[in-house]
């Protein structure tokens, strides 16, 4: 370990260095858990537009990006956010108003697409989806796809099982690989070289990271490489895949980070309430997004009392008996 720290930078720097208008991006986490919110808010504040976003069920972050008008195209399996929004509100609005182009897949299909990208193969096979209109209705037309070298020409393909009935399958559905330009993930621990240790569920973060050309990691704790080396089997992301490491405590707020803090139901409900009304939403964004300089300022605005209320209990990893109404 040479402790090369050239990857360590602020999230502002990482976003400005690796993002660009029109970039194809993905974010880690799942609905209200471990979304890289510091990165998401910084992308919004720096004003990146016309993004092409790949998501499985990354509710909170994706809806904020859509709400801020950053996203042109979205490939997604699920746009909901648990009990706070059965369907993400700004997502719904954008789709219904025709300002967002959407391509629908399932959660497994999206995860397999990241896996294909991570493994360096053009597609992954699955037995999911036969008979579903996911296979027959395309959100992005063939023409639109053919015109963009960053998109596969086909949404997906169905073929007869080339091995006959091997594997008890008559047909297979093939989903094309995704290789985002940039992926943002938030983890509990990262070292200065970029190796990451995730506690709790990994969702599809590892595949998203390995599929990406550039990877920006934000972390609750930034440690020295030696600190993660005694138990290497606990490190799901080796530094080889990581471009930038940003130390951002509470960097997933208002989503949860297992063993660190819970989601903030108050914030998520306030967001949902505001999101339903265009003018209220502008006010909400003015206050929490554009009215703060960075994630630290947002946390100050939220206040220590609320952060204390969502602090994870040492035994369970979440905030026991937290008011979640």
């Amino acid at each position: 370990m040479n402790g090369d720290t050239s990857k360590v930078m602020s999230i502002e720097m990482a976003v400005s260095r690796f993002m660009s208008d029109g970039a194809h991006i993905s974010i880690g986490g799942f609905t209200l858990n471990r979304n890289p919110m510091a990165a998401v808010y910084e992308i919004i504040r720096q004003g990146f537009k016309e993004l092409h976003v790949y998501a499985h069920s990354n509710g909170t972050g994706v809806d904020e990006l859509i709400g801020a008008g950053c996203v042109d195209k979205l490939e997604i399996a699920y746009a909901g956010n648990g009990k706070t929004a059965a369907t993400c509100i700004r997502f719904r609005k954008a789709v219904q108003e025709g300002t967002l182009k959407v391509e629908d897949y399932s959660n497994f299909m999206m995860s397999l697409r990241f896996l294909a990208g991570a493994m360096g193969v053009p597609f992954m096979p699955t037995l999911s989806g036969f008979g579903s209109e996911i296979t027959t209705i395309w959100g992005f037309s063939k023409e639109m796809r053919q015109a963009d070298p960053k998109m596969a020409d086909d949404k997906l393909l169905i073929m007869d099982n080339p091995f006959g009935i091997w594997g008890d399958a008559s047909k297979v559905l093939l989903v094309p690989a995704i290789n985002p330009d940039v992926t943002f993930v938030h983890v509990q621990k990262a070292d200065t070289m970029g190796t990451c240790r995730i506690d709790g569920l990994t969702f599809a973060d590892v595949e998203q990271v390995k599929a990406s050309r550039q990877v920006v990691v934000s972390c609750e704790e930034l440690v020295e490489p030696d600190d993660l080396r005694e138990f290497p089997e606990r490190n799901q992301i080796p530094f080889l895949h990581v471009s930038a490491v940003c130390h951002v405590p509470h960097g997933a707020y208002p989503t949860a980070v297992y063993r660190h803090y819970d989601y903030d139901s108050d914030y998520l409900r306030a967001y949902a309430a505001a999101a339903k009304d265009d003018s209220k939403f502008v006010t909400f964004q003015e206050k929490y997004l554009y009215g703060v300089q960075n994630h630290q300022s947002l946390l100050s605005l939220i206040g220590q009392e609320r952060l204390d209320a969502i602090k994870a209990d040492a035994r369970t990893g979440y905030a026991v008996n937290m008011k979640r109404g």
């Binding site: 369907t87 299909m109 047909k171």
Partner: protein, 257 residues
């Protein structure tokens, strides 16, 4: 019959819990489906294994999760992995054939196909929903799927606006013809009834109607007609079932309201 001492949500949760057999691997989603899974675990199927598409297996649900990614599903589980592992567990027949799943939807048709994507034109929908999530995968892989529905005409439709998750498709043999294994939705649990799919025709029929509800009322709340000739009245929740549900499964009344 009018003086029932349980809510319809409680009835639904218990009816679903009764579908779960001891030893089953239960795929649970958010909301009432999690409650039903937890109820089964606490009442009639202590060795059933609750698992989530996010990758948590056999979680200890001390507090009801509000999403499948809630940190409450991660606590004291047998293994915390990710989405790929969870769905592979269902796609793989060795484990997948032991799974029972609970799904929800905006629309269902008489073959148990589900729409969780959009009402109206897909490209410019009147109402957009969350989309498949894991629903399409589960309905493709799992031999026994329960759909939770509100019994309303606009939800039990003649034709889905979008077929997100495959049930019995167009009935007899069409799942296999499309490339699917047997499975998909074969039980529908509503606020009025339990419906099942005929194993030969793939069509929905009325199996049980709740106390205080008539088969005719049920038909009045659907766009399509179903066979009611085998229908019998459902057995209401027992005191023990209700007590466990209320005191052990959702003491905060997050789902029961």
């Amino acid at each position: 019959m009018q003086t029932q001492d349980y809510s319809l949500k409680e009835m639904m949760a218990i009816m679903a819990a009764r579908e779960i057999k001891d030893g089953d691997i239960v795929f649970a989603g958010t909301g009432i489906s999690m409650l039903a899974a937890t109820a089964a675990k606490n009442i009639n199927a202590p060795n059933c294994v609750i698992f989530f598409e996010t990758g948590a297996i056999d979680s200890i649900i001390e507090e009801l999760p509000l999403a499948v990614a809630d940190p409450r599903v991660m606590y004291w589980s047998a293994s915390n992995t990710g989405l790929l592992e969870a769905f592979a567990t269902m796609q793989n027949r060795i484990t997948g054939d032991r799974v029972i799943a609970i799904l929800g939807a905006a629309q269902i048709d008489k073959y148990g196909n589900l729409n969780t994507t959009a009402i109206g034109d897909y490209h410019l929908p009147e109402t957009r929903f969350s989309g498949s999530g894991g629903g399409c995968d589960v309905a493709s892989f799992v031999p026994r799927c329960i759909a939770f529905m509100q019994h309303e005409k606009r939800k039990f439709v003649e034709k889905l606006d979008y077929l997100t998750s495959p049930g019995q498709l167009q009935g007899s043999g069409s799942r296999e013809a499309a490339g699917l294994r047997p499975g998909g939705v074969n039980v529908v649990i509503t606020n009025m009834a339990v419906m099942r799919m005929d194993s030969a025709s793939g069509e929905m029929y009325l199996d049980q109607y709740y106390p205080g509800v008539t088969p005719e009322t049920i038909l009045d709340n659907m766009q399509f007609s179903v066979n009611i000739s085998q229908a019998k009245q459902a057995r209401p929740p027992t005191e023990t079932e209700l007590k466990t549900l209320r005191q052990k499964c959702d003491p905060q009344r997050l789902i029961l309201g």
